[in-house]
Symmetry: C2
Subunit: 207 residues, 2 copies
DNA sequence: CATTAAATGTAAATAGAGTTAACATGGGGA
DNA sequence: TCCCCATGTTAACTCTATTTACATTTAATG
């Protein structure tokens, strides 16, 4: 099977549906596209998707993988722009996260949405490095090696930083980050917090 | 109008619906109760709710207020158990938050869900102190007065702490907080992070 | 190469949920 | 007391997900 104008058998419907769904999510900035519209966009009938996905959640799950990969790619790109072991690389990861959360609002929320099957997720997600978390761990470890004498648990510290970053991103998405002080700038607040966490962990002077 | 067995006119349907919805959310730990079931539970027909709420989102909004108040009450209670200016009070707020997020999963996610109307939310939310944020601000300010010479922006520092706490709570809810290290304990990680943020802000020694 | 089972599409039906429309009731003020 | 309006009711209506029964290829098999 080659390209577009196939009759009856599409040839690559599964992927076409994932792309169609992603486009609709992108277009409307919401997750409530209809299966029928995704199917139509892929050029098939409304029932066809059910040959490839058990239900809408299964299709969303596939899009979720895509979204997580997308964030991971951005993270990798951001990290590559800064010298290893530098704090700038770590801060850039945070900025990338905030930027993604803003620009890809619906995809971002899709990522953290309720999904079932803990263990299955755990596997998928771990394989994909889940949006670049291991990249952050690498940056954190490198930073600590350059800036601390004592051994530091990179995963632990990275989890602290991720939590902070995720908190800022989600509170901003809920329009609550500057509920009581409109002047608060998410990036600045995050940067400062991350610096503090790094200083606290390494025991060094302010950066 | 007095109590229960009213015919035709319910008497207090609006509140009865809010309670019914909250009960269903509590029972199923999910937000997808049906309007019909909420109505039935309140003893009215499926169309009756629309005399009091424009749509399901409006009913959810009312429940959301309740949830936010509930968290605020817990926060107030937690704060009252610790001496003013102590770090224990601040840490207890975090524990309360994590506990609420676990115990009232659906209510918790409802709080941060997409809702429209930014400015309206801002008003409602600010009036209600949004889950006890101002209590946290008070605790933080008191702490800083006891532990620092320089002036500290309490709202800013409290926002950092809230972000951290919110990040831990939401990542835990998504089962991601210990994705790469199953031994991570959310409370411990949060406590440590909050201490670091406080130390960083006050410039004092580790607590 | 013909046959046929498995995979993948289609159209039409089903079912559940939100929401609206048209009508009913009854409590409270003029 | 009477009438209006808020509040309920029942019966549609619409939109979606999903299933069922049937159609068409593809591809493996003899």
């Amino acid at each position: 099977m080659s390209q577009a104008l196939r009759n009856y058998h599409h040839g690559d419907l599964r992927n076409a549906l994932i792309i169609a769904a992603a486009e609709l999510i992108e277009r409307d900035s919401t997750l409530d596209f209809t299966m029928a519209e995704a199917a139509a966009r892929a050029g098939v009938s409304a029932a066809a998707p059910y040959r490839h996905f058990a239900d809408k959640e299964a299709l969303l799950q596939a899009v979720r993988q895509l979204a997580i990969l997308g964030l991971g790619n951005r993270a990798a790109k951001a990290a590559s722009l800064h010298p290893g072991g530098s704090i700038e690389g770590i801060l850039a990861m945070g900025h990338t996260y905030l930027h993604y959360a803003r620009e890809k609002r619906a995809f971002f929320s899709l990522m953290w949405e309720d999904r079932g099957n803990i263990e299955e997720i755990r596997e998928n997600v771990a394989q994909e490095d889940h949006g670049g978390f291991m990249i952050l761990v690498g940056l954190v470890k490198a930073f600590c090696e350059h800036n601390s004498d004592t051994a530091i648990d990179g995963v632990y510290l990275a989890t602290q930083i991720w939590s902070m970053t995720h908190g800022v991103a989600t509170l901003e998405a809920s329009q609550l980050i500057n509920l009581f002080d409109r002047s608060i700038d998410p990036e600045a607040l995050l940067d400062q917090s991350v610096r503090t966490l790094l200083v606290g962990a390494t025991g060094h002077q302010p950066l």
